[in-house]
Subunit: 351 residues, 2 copies
């Protein structure tokens, strides 16, 4: 077996948040506490399983068209995949091919490092400053590409578009990917910069604001040229990715803009209330613009709180990593779920 | 833009068969002419769209368990992905990592070459013999891995297990992938060899015999060690691949063994009748053990027949490639669809 093993690629995979199957308060993987649009349910009821015998549309055209209409871009500016992880994995493979180190923050979505390792892409990780903000001057040096989330995760910090533009301006020769998984809870999207910066790729997901993590849909928006390169790689990997149900449910979700906006508003309202409650309890945290809060407490150890919560069926996320081991990432749930969290914390702190 | 482009991976993608959206006789992408099991329809009706807000089970355990039970192997011997193309793409990335050329036949599934190019894996393509059969001695030389379909595509030729064993025996130091997309129409699967050969990976799909091309489900069966390496790479690429609907529909399809067997029998019965009809019309073809026939006619040009059929709304597959440009690959449809094909051919040949 040993010679056989020599030829095998060995990697340290990404570890996703726990997916407990029992009745728990699940505030650990930034899912949406509300169901998707009723339109999704309606089209799901109309799906004919007899159609499953045929391959789905490889160009995913109904979904691409709905997204193009929604964002006011051309259909040739949209790439879709099996969640934004699939889209980002394709972006790494397509765009980060120079041999020079790519740049992303030291504290950020931990999958970036995993993809870089998988594809043997060198990388460097400039440190966030003390306030957990990206230092844009760190991205002025020569590199093989740049990627960062906006808002960043798990820090929840959002940067305005002039900040994004500055990084784009200083990196005209490489692709800059702005991972906007949480943008709908935050502010203006970098999509409006695509016309002016031919090096910009914006990625988004159906897993957060659109309540469809279980459906696995993500997308990239860029200029037609970069989208074409991305599609060429996709068609060199798997021609048929999104199944028929994902296509029709995805289309229905995008078209129901009103439901989407209402859901986002409910979550951001709960987030702002949660900030107040957590502040009253003595927590400190960044000014979250995402559907989660990244909080620490000066008097209580984060890992101990995490374990105590878990014992009570309240799941949040904790990393035993440099600089952030005293923080908890708490997803915004329903008002009721957050009340239970506060009740727990009040009791815990009285002990 | 030119310096920007230097860093981009440029590939020649796989070209999938056409997916015409109109009412046609579609015998071009080896889909199943019958719908999936009624059990699939039943569980589809029970899906709650409210669950879409949560991530699906990353280990796909209900589907893995159903497959393990079906094939009498351990759950740790099954890897699932978004169609067997996704599974094979992961296998190439994981197992063909030696730098030595991998081997696959000159006439075979055209995606193998595309994946090799995508990942910069060197490859050599030993020629099928005059009867379109693999010459096993060609696979005795040093290599970085072996892959071939059984039955092969588009030739439809099936090799018995002693043939497979011989190739496994001569390649103990590399991974040998037997791509069994069409095995259910053919004969014994190499799955029974897994216990004896620690270098064997067998891949299969839901797209053919299980009538679920539109759902995108494929799987690999091997020993627990190789499956673990494959899962490590998958979790370094995309943790959540199959969506909730695919998981429950896939499970339901696997469990309905009787429907599966009946469907396969209908197709192989039609295939044998089709062989007689095509022989009567003067076609020659390999002894197909798949759900398609690879046929040529001594008096009629394949490309001209292909174009004439397409004009009448009958889609088959033709490649303008060396050695096979005089062949058509004809998927086995329903009895009625095949009748229409024969009617067309009879008319065409009277002209």
């Amino acid at each position: 077996m040993s010679r056989l093993e020599e030829n095998i690629r060995k990697v340290t995979p990404y570890v996703p948040g726990e997916q407990p199957q029992n009745k728990v308060i699940k505030l650990n993987t930034n899912e949406n506490p509300y169901p998707p649009s009723p339109e999704v349910d309606r089209v799901l009821g109309e799906v004919d399983s007899g159609d499953f015998r045929l391959y789905p549309d490889p160009s995913c055209s109904i979904l691409v068209k709905a997204l193009a209409d929604c964002y006011g871009v051309g259909e040739d500016q949209i790439f879709v995949g099996v969640g934004s992880d699939d889209v980002l994995a394709m972006c790494f493979l397509t765009f980060f091919n120079s041999g020079k180190p790519i740049l992303f923050p030291d504290i950020t979505y931990s999958f970036y490092k995993v993809w870089a390792q998988l594809y043997s892409i060198p990388y460097e990780c400039p440190k966030l400053n003390e306030e957990f903000r990206i230092v844009k001057e760190d991205y002025y040096r020569e590199n093989g590409g740049v990627i960062f989330p906006n808002p960043n995760a798990p820090t929840a910090v959002y940067e305005e578009l002039d900040f994004i533009e500055d990084i784009l301006e200083h990196n005209r020769d490489v692709v800059v990917i702005v991972d906007e998984a949480y943008i709908d809870f935050a502010g203006r999207s970098a999509i409006e910069l695509i016309e002016r910066y031919d090096n910009l790729v914006v990625t988004q997901t159906f897993s957060k604001a659109r309540s469809m993590a279980g459906m696995r849909i993500g997308y990239a928006i860029s200029n037609p040229k970069l989208i074409r390169y991305l599609n060429d790689v996709k068609y060199s990997f798997n021609s048929y990715t999104l199944n028929k149900v994902a296509l029709v449910c995805g289309e229905a979700a995008v078209k129901d803009q009103e439901y989407f906006e209402n859901t986002v508003k409910k979550i951001t309202d709960t987030r702002e209330k949660t900030k107040k409650e957590l502040a009253d309890l003595g927590f400190s945290f960044t000014d979250s613009k995402a559907n989660f809060i990244f909080a620490s407490h000066p008097e209580y150890d984060a890992k101990e709180m995490f374990d105590a919560m878990k014992e009570q069926g309240i799941y949040v996320r904790h990393w035993d990593s440099e600089r952030i081991s005293q923080y908890l990432r708490i997803t915004i749930g329903t008002e009721e779920e957050m009340q239970k969290l506060f009740e727990f914390l009040k009791k815990y702190m009285q002990k």
